[in-house]
Amino acid sequence: MTHSSPLRQEILRGAWLLAGIMALSFLANMPLVIRPDVLLVGALALAFFIDDAYVFMMWLLAELLWAKYAPSPSYELLFIGIMGVVVFFIIRSFVLRPAPILFIGAILVGTALFWLVFSFAHTFVAFPFLMEFLYNTAVGMILFAFGLWLKKRFS
């Protein structure tokens, strides 16, 4: 019995994770006053659960292309891509094992930076930011659990 190559396992893990991100994106279309930033949380989940740099870049690019909402390139998607890459290299360089608390910390930093850069008056001291962070954390926990299961299934 031949085992799948590690690269194939990584690709499958990334594909399933991206499918989970796409499925959760329906939350962003609900008639909520504040919506979770599934794209940002998804990019962070890809950074946490894909080990191969090329596979990670491939699925991150796929996520950003799928999420394209305007005809011209947007700084917001570029920011999310950069956040994903930075977190990927921090995880690989300094952290031995991804943990939920680290993931929540990455979500907090990512959400805060996003609001600092793109919000009107460049501030995150606002109720919508707090609500978005809570929603992002809830979505993040779902993706984290899914990622842990995928890591066990495709390893």
Partner: protein, 227 residues
């Protein structure tokens, strides 16, 4: 590992429930979970009809206001019909994207209306085939407005829950009063919404009011761009 999965799943489910239930107490607009479920199943046509009737009602109120104030209603010539094909997916701004651009005659700064002459936003960026609109729900949106038959001055400030602020405390306004545009950038007297709740502002020097809209931005599909 199994216990870790269970913990994480339980955390996430309880987190979602707390947020969904808790936000109903802390934000003005409820989450409308049941209305979204009804959209999914079979009541979407009734909801759509209701929205259309609200919009027509606003249009009629607009005409009545204009007649009462002896304001000439702007003719329908020159408007550009467009469809909304995308919306900004994040919470930091509230923008929609239209399928008409500079080649179709759309220019930056023009007003965007839903068909019953209700102002919903302003064009901020135009490309040859598409344009970006900043809606009244965008935190960067602001507009001088007038309220009611007495034409009380106020300033509309956009955001998650747009407010009309800087209202003189001595002037009479009441829930249900029409809020209309007073900016020279758009046609005078076009409807924004109606007064919902009236409260003193943070400093207590002025009044402020929340706005009742006849539409939901999630349901807007066809708009008109007026020069």
């Amino acid at each position: 590992m199994h216990q870790q999965y269970q913990r994480v799943i339980l955390m996430s489910i309880s987190g979602i429930l707390v947020i969904l239930i808790g936000t109903g107490f802390f934000i003005a607009k409820p989450l409308e979970i049941f209305s979204s479920l009804s959209h999914i199943f079979s009541l979407s046509s009734i909801v759509e009809e209701n929205t259309t009737l609200h919009q027509e009602n606003d249009g009629l109120k607009n005409e009545l206001f204009a007649l009462q104030q002896h304001i000439a209603i702007a003719s329908s010539t020159g408007e550009i019909s467009a469809q909304v094909f995308s919306a900004y997916p994040f919470n930091t701004k509230n923008r929609i994207f239209l399928d008409k651009g500079s080649l179709d005659g759309v220019m930056t700064g023009e007003g965007v209306f839903i068909p019953s002459r209700v102002l919903i936003g302003q064009v901020t960026r135009v490309t040859p085939h598409e344009s970006e609109v900043m809606t009244v729900f965008d935190p960067a949106f602001s507009l001088p407005v007038r309220i009611g038959a007495q034409q009380v001055d106020g300033l509309l400030k956009g955001g998650v829950s747009p407010l009309v602020t800087l209202i003189d405390k001595t002037k009479p306004i009441a829930p249900g009063d029409l809020i209309v545009n007073a900016s020279k950038d758009f046609m005078y007297g076009v409807t924004i919404g109606t007064v919902r709740d009236i409260t003193p502002d943070t400093l207590g020097a002025f009044l402020q009011t929340s706005i009742q809209f006849s539409y939901s931005m999630n349901d807007v599909r066809n708009v008109e761009v007026h020069p």
